[in-house]
Structures are given as C-alpha cells and as structure tokens.
C-alpha cells in the first residue's frame, strides 16, 4: 500500500491584484503523489504549474481546497522539501561554493563541514574549477547547475523542480537527467518535475500529468511503464515511448489550440 506524500484535494487558486483584478490560476485541481514516485507535470504556459509547486511549499497558499504533505495539511515550509525555481535564484553576492554550502549552514552545520559537502557537489554538477566564480561570471546553464547542487545538498525527501533543465544544452541536460534519476533512487525522494518537454517527462517519470490550459486542472494522467533503471538517452527510441509521446502530444495540442 503506497503512502501518499503530496496530496492536493480540490484546490483552486486565485490571485487578486491591488486594483482588485482576479486571476484564476488553478481550478478544482486534485493530485496525489506517492512516496518515492516521480511525477512529471506538463501543460501549456500560464496554466498554473509553478503555482501548484508554490502551494506545496506553502509559499503561496491555495484560495480553497486542501494541500497535504506527509499526510498533514501544510503549515509553513517543510525542511524535507527541495525546490528548484524556474527563475534564477542563486545569491549573486556569493561565489559558487558558498552558494552551494548555504543550505547546510542555514540548517546548523559549521562552515568547514558545509564547504566540504559543497566541494563534493561542485564536482558532481561539473563545476570544478569555478568554485570561486560569482554567478554573474557563469553562463545561464552553469547557474542552473549551482541551483541544482544547492537543492540536492540538503537531501530533500520531496523534490519540486520547475523546468530545471530548460536552460541547459542537450549533453549537459542528458547528464543532469541521469544524475537526477540516480539521486532520486538513492534518496528515495518523491519528485514533482515541471517541464515543457514531453519527451523529458516520459523519459524521467513514473507518471505524466497533463494540465489543461489556465485556469489549470488535471486533464489526463499517464502511467509510464518503462523499465527502471532507465537510460534516458536510449529510452526515447522504444515503441512504447513513441506511442505515449503521441498520446500526450495530442492531449496538449487540444489545450493549446483556441
């Protein structure tokens, strides 16, 4: 019997601007992610994917409905959650290694120990030699890798990722996807992975959830029966993969057309 780790029960989310204009971002959405599941979310732009992740972290609470994490309604930021933001969120006044070490330092580790952990992660995300560079001296893809290391170093039990690989080149992306999968199986983390790339979603996830166009709600959900461990770069040529990809693409296309 799998235990649900993240549950969204009938949540709706509205943003009210200071002038009183209401944006309906999510409508009656329900989603359940079990322990150890890798769930990918795809959907047209502006359908509320980032908003969904924000609700799980408690950064932007829902207007109605209930969000539960580890079986309890969310109240405050759970230390077991890691969140890779869609926009650049590394600290511009800290160099690479200090940026990565900040999580453990916040959590009470002493600086020397945190730096040692960070040095390991610098290597794992392929930034060796750039330890003392500031973010403005890095490329966009390198900054993204700093953000990934910053999140992974905390070994989160729930990993929320908002288009984390969108800025990376194909090779680095494949590398990071492989790294993510091995990390995921190592940490036994539950993942929600937002992406625009259907193939990426299928290659990585156990389940792909398609959201309807904004205000978003779950349109359809596909279990991905591809065998684990997967080779991300090989998986995409199998018959099954192509079939799934066509189905999801069809669903999405209907949403994007007006």
């Amino acid at each position: 019997m799998p235990t649900p780790v993240i549950e969204l029960i009938n949540v709706s989310c509205k943003f009210i601007s200071p002038e009183g204009k209401i944006t309906h971002a999510l409508r009656e959405m329900s989603l359940c992610v079990n322990e150890g599941d890798f769930c990918a979310i795809v959907g047209p732009t502006g359908c509320g994917k980032s908003t969904t992740l924000g609700m799980i972290t408690s950064l932007s609470p829902p207007s109605t409905g209930l969000v539960k994490v580890f079986g309890k309604p969310v109240a405050g930021i759970d230390p077991n959650i890691g969140f890779v933001f869609q926009t650049d969120a590394v600290f511009p006044w800290k160099n690479v290694i200090d940026n990565i070490a900040i999580g453990p330092i916040y959590r009470g580790k002493n600086a020397a120990e945190a730096k040692k952990m960070a040095a390991d992660w610098v290597r794992r995300v392929g930034l060796a030699g750039f330890e003392h560079h500031y973010p403005h001296q890095l490329s966009g893809g390198m900054r993204k890798r700093v953000a990934l290391a910053q999140t992974f170093i905390n070994e989160p039990k729930i990993l929320l990722m908002d288009e984390p690989f969108a800025a990376l080149d194909v090779q680095t992306r494949a590398l990071m996807q492989g790294e993510l999968l091995s990390l995921w199986s190592e940490l036994k983390a539950s993942v929600i992975f937002v992406t625009h790339d259907i193939e990426e979603a299928i290659a990585l996830a156990d389940r792909v959830v398609v959201l309807s166009k904004g205000p978003g709600t779950v349109k359809s959900s596909y279990d991905i029966p591809l065998a684990r461990p997967r080779d991300v770069s090989e998986a995409r040529y199998s018959e099954q993969f192509i079939h799934l990809s066509k189905q999801i693409w069809h669903d999405l296309k209907n949403e994007v057309q007006i």
Binding site: L59, F91, Y106, Y134, P135, N154
Partner: protein
C-alpha cells in the same frame, strides 16, 4: 616549424595588444590634459576678467586673492586659530554625525523594512521627512545644545539619517522575492534571511546613499557652525562674510571641497570592496 609559427602568431597578437594598450594610455593622457587645460582656462579667464574690469572682485573675488588667502591661512593661521584646527573641528563634527546618522539610518531602515505593517505605515512619513528642509532644525539644535559641538553633530545626524534610512528601507523592500523564497526553502529562519539575503541586497542602495550623505553631513556641520559657534570652517565663512571678504568664502569652499573629495574617494574604495560580486559595468565609477 611548428614552434616558429606559434611564436610568430603570438608575436603579432602581442603587437595588436600593444597597440590597444598604447591607444588606451593615449586616451587617458588626453583626458588628463583636457581636464587640466579646462581648469587653467577657467581660472585665467576669471583672473583676466577681473583685471579688465568685466567682473567685480568685491563680489566674485579672483583666483590670485583666493590663493593668497589660502596661503595666509596656512602659514599665519586664521583669526580663530590655525587652519588645521578649524578644519579638525569641522571634520570631527562631520564624521561623528555621519557615523551616528548612517548607523541609525541603516538600523532603522532594515528593521522597518523587514516589518511589513510598520513599513506601510511609516513609508509616507519618510517621504514627508525627506521633503522637509531639515537644515532649519539647526536653529533649534543651537537652542537645545548650545554653541558647542553637540548642535553641529545633531544637525549632521539629522541630515544623514533620513537619506540613509530611506535608502536602506527601499533596499530592503526591493530585495528579490525569489531569493528570499529560495533562502526559506533552503532552511533559513527569518533572522538568517535578514542577514544573508536582505542586507546584502540592500547594501547596493545603502552604499549609494553613503556617497550623498557624507556631503550632507558636511553641510550639516558647516551650516551649524554658520548659525553659531566658536570654531570651524563654517565660522570662518561667517567671519569672511561679515567682513565682505569674498576671497575668504571661496578659500573656505576649496578647503571643504578637498575634504569632500577625499571622503568620496574612500567611500568608493569601500564600495568596490564590498560589492565585488557585481558585474563590472555596474561597479564602475566616473571618478
């Protein structure tokens, strides 16, 4: 063969580099030359205009008189005592006022900026306080603190405080929401967010305000002395004014300008040190 072509290509590259360097050096020389030239032309025109009766030295003095006045102050001292002692008094008032004012401003700005409700309530009063000509308070301070150093320091503090406070407050309010959210997710508590995210991002604003506010502190001290004191450059100006000595006023102005420039230089150095993480184009200064 290989080595040969390698040295050859690096030789031509360094030739290009040398040309680029020479060009940069020449430009720098040109700028310095033009700067000095402009000063010489201006001063000469002024001197000649006085000589040929185009402007009245009684009101506008002339470079040679100002120079003489400065020389007299430096060698024989002023009516109140040696120049360096007068300057020291003014500097002391300025620097003490600057430090107290900016520390208070930074502290209050960050504390209020971090508190949303207090910030919303007070932000309007900050605007009002910034709009009031605070120099007027100098008279009140002289009534309260007397002719000594206290009244000048108080005026300098008031001049500096609101500028730094406003900037620190704004800087805190403008801190990137994303970075703050990221810090919370990574495990920071509110205090850690304040010190590791909010203050560093407000620092750009705060340092920018320190540039302006040193000048304000100087104005506060000098105006305070002007209104009533026993020592200081401000009194020197007031005395010169009383005796219709325009050269004295200009000479005092030059002394103050030198001080302000030195302070500006130190603050720029501090800023470059603290903000070395910024992209170069933002860290450049006109000086």
């Amino acid at each position: 063969m290989n080595i040969f072509s390698a040295t050859n290509s690096s030789g031509s590259a360094s030739e290009e580099e040398r040309q680029a360097i020479a060009k940069a050096v020449n430009r720098r020389r040109l700028v310095i030359f033009l700067r000095i030239g402009l000063a010489v032309v201006t001063l000469t025109t002024w001197e000649l205009a006085v000589k040929y009766g185009l402007i009245d030295p009684f009101f506008f003095s002339r470079p040679s008189d100002i120079y003489t006045q400065l020389a007299v102050w430096l060698t024989e001292g002023t009516a109140q005592g040696p120049l360096w002692r007068e300057l020291l008094v003014t500097m002391e008032e300025t620097v003490i006022g600057f430090f107290i004012g900016s520390l208070l401003g930074i502290f209050c700005g960050i504390a209020l900026g971090r508190n949303k409700l207090a910030g919303d309530v007070f932000s309007i009063y900050i605007k009002i306080a910034n709009a009031i000509p605070r120099v007027v308070l100098g008279s009140i301070f002289i009534i309260i603190f007397g002719l000594g150093m206290g009244s000048k320091v108080a005026l300098a503090v008031v001049m500096v405080f609101f500028v730094v406070f406003g900037n620190a407050f704004q800087g805190v309010r403008e801190a990137d929401r994303n970075l703050i959210a990221n810090a919370y997710i990574l495990g920071a508590n509110k205090r850690q967010v304040t010190f590791s995210v909010v203050i560093p991002s407000a620092l750009t604003w705060i340092l920018a305000s320190l540039h302006v506010s040193f000048g304000f502190a100087l104005v506060g001290a000098v105006v305070g002395e002007f209104l009533g004191s026993r020592h200081g450059i401000g009194l020197l100006i007031a005395t010169a004014q009383g005796t219709f000595n325009a050269a004295g006023v200009f000479a005092a102005m030059i002394v103050l300008a030198v001080v302000a420039l030195a302070a500006e230089y130190l603050l720029t150095a501090l800023e470059d040190r603290l903000l070395k993480w910024r992209p170069v184009q933002f860290a450049e200064h006109g000086m």
